[in-house]
Subunit: 380 residues, 2 copies
């Protein structure tokens, strides 16, 4: 499925600059900002076939395709988005957007604050899932899309899809909420805080204003990513892939890489620290921590979802312990109690939280079946 | 149960210095070494009522009692060890020992290398569970104990109890292996490696020889402990205790403590970094990683356990995901297949891995019942 023949091909990111101030949940106001995005497929005459893809912690707008013929890596959801794929670019106009606070072109801590010509750094305000949804709605306006056929996301992306259904009920026909949760547990927050403390206490972080000093808090980012990776994989999946395999066949009795799993994690951490912005990492984890649509409704998720009018697909993966099936079932139960149309798929997978990015066949089949129905509605 | 009236009272640590070289699994030889230990209760005339308590990652020899009348903290297992308690000091002679490589009085990285008069630091060799058991056997010799009535430990301590049954079958009547595992999984090793990398990449670690420079790798130790704590508690237990409780009642939209769980973890991390030695932390996690008694038997745990002659109590806790009940059942199955006497208790608890240090009543009852039987045998 993910061969190049079914790719959206060569793609180019676009930018949308907004001059209308954006008031944020925190009380801060962004006077102006840029969103970087990509689109695949063609918007139909009725402008009714738009699908918004919301990204997770380390994601971005580059969802599918490649930037050049010899680009080695395709977009992060290229296995799911393309001609003939479940999110079918022959039928849908697909939009990927880098969220505010990101580090891939949209306004964020590493971008230039127009007020002073320096990187925002620590002065970039904390943004929340509702803030992102507001910004995404303005992008929809710019693209002439009154109503999305679907808003789709996994993990933190699923939270945005759920928030869309609450904040703009009339502007979203379907919300696909994958491997997500209605709010983080204490354990989820705890893992995030360890990652944040790793970054913040890195001497090269310099209070978040490291850009001017030519440093990067690589040690902290590396640890954050190593830890993150453990929580993305399942215990069983890690066991199957790495087990207790040794790098050199025998115990070395030292602190260099001994087990293959150490080698894998350190490599992932090193790679990540080369390209990801430390402030964006902090900000994305805070958006996760703060997400709690029931909060304004006295903790009542059913009440929060009452005004939603979208149909929902909620999906979870059996071995996902970061956002376990139990958490998705909380969302499903609240949606049912609120009288909404909801389909739920609990998919057998060994891939843990990462499964939402993979191609376990039952998952692909579920997405395909659901989106076939969405496509039929669009063309009805 | 844990009131002072049933305490062993005021206790004093003792030291045993050994001049006979100790060959280690790594190939290194410790020319001489010191073990710091404590004893409670009285060794009977037959010298048959000795119980050895083996400690876990951050434990030590101070198992029960207090160092002075106004000592605020009792030993780490004071709820389980004392007159009338499950490990009853009216009936047993209980020995707690700080393992080699520790930082509480026994020879370790922070102790003085007699060869050069400086702290061992990075030159202290990596030690393993079998090395510890050998050193503990020499301490038993020194105390005149040919055979332990029981060797008891939780977590890494349970691994030592299991190793005793294999290495000195004739010297141990009962092995109590609590909240432990026959070897670490890839996920277990992964968590350990993140903790180690946090310490090793702390600029104040200085390759392990920070003592001479007057620095302490506090940042790394703090992160290691924060992460450790998450894995000691259960998701549900953390949820019950902290949930999404906010420090100040409302979102602050910043990076200071926001949720109570963050406050708890950071406090635990800070406290730990004040007193625990970074090199000992590294060394203890490596001992965990390397533990694999089946390794010398082609991966066959049943074969490894064949020569054991002890009786076994294996216990696990339902919400422990660091060493889940499934891991204890692996040990139980191998013991049964090897034809050994084994009792197994899977205890309902919300306390996660930490449950082995707590007083869930079914756990206390199980220990009491099993050790009553051990006491009867001693007096038979």
């Amino acid at each position: 499925m993910s061969n190049l023949s079914s790719s959206v091909g060569i793609v180019t990111p676009q930018h949308a600059d907004f001059a209308t101030p954006l008031p944020l949940n925190s009380g801060h106001v962004l006077a102006s900002y840029r969103l970087t995005f990509e689109t695949y497929g063609t918007l139909n005459a009725a402008r009714s076939n738009g699908i918004l893809i919301c990204h997770a912690l380390s994601g971005h707008h580059h969802v599918a395709g490649r930037y050049s013929a010899d680009d080695k890596a395709a977009g992060w959801w290229d296995n799911m988005v393309g001609p003939g794929k479940p999110i079918d670019t022959n039928r849908f106009f697909v939009v990927g957007v880098n969220n505010l606070g990101g580090c891939h072109g949209s306004s964020g801590p590493s971008s230039i604050d127009p007020d002073c010509g320096q990187p925002w750094g620590s002065r970039f305000p904390v943004v929340t899932v509702p803030d992102w949804v507001t910004a995404q709605a303005r992008l929809a306006d710019r693209l002439g899309i009154d109503r999305w056929a679907a808003v789709i996301g996994g993990s933190l992306g699923g939270m945005q899809a759920l928030q869309w259904s609450i904040d703009y009920p009339e502007r979203i026909a379907h919300a696909l909420v994958i491997a997500s949760a209605p709010k983080l547990s204490a354990q989820n927050i705890a893992f995030n805080d360890v990652a944040r403390q790793a970054i913040i206490t890195d001497p090269d972080f310099l209070g978040g204003d490291f850009y001017a000093h030519g440093t990067i808090p690589r040690r902290g980012l590396r640890l954050a990513r190593m830890l993150g990776h453990i929580t993305y994989l399942s215990d069983d999946g890690m066991g199957e892939k790495f087990g207790r395999m040794l790098r050199s066949g025998e115990y070395q009795f030292g602190y260099d890489v001994e087990f293959e799993i150490e080698s894998y994690l350190r490599y992932q951490g090193d790679k990540f620290s080369d390209y990801f912005d430390a402030n964006t990492y902090l900000l994305m984890t805070k958006a996760l921590d703060y997400f709690d649509p029931a909060k304004d409704y006295g903790g009542d998720l059913v009440a929060a979802l009452k005004k939603a009018s979208a149909s929902f697909l909620v999906a979870s993966f059996t071995s996902d312990w970061r956002f376990s099936p139990e958490r998705s079932r909380e969302t499903v139960k609240a949606l049912i109690a609120a009288g909404k149309r909801v389909s739920y798929g609990e998919i057998e997978s060994v891939h843990g939280h990462d499964a939402f990015l993979m191609t376990d066949q039952p998952y692909v089949d579920l997405m395909q079946a659901y989106l076939d129905r969405v496509a039929e509605e669009v063309n009805a």
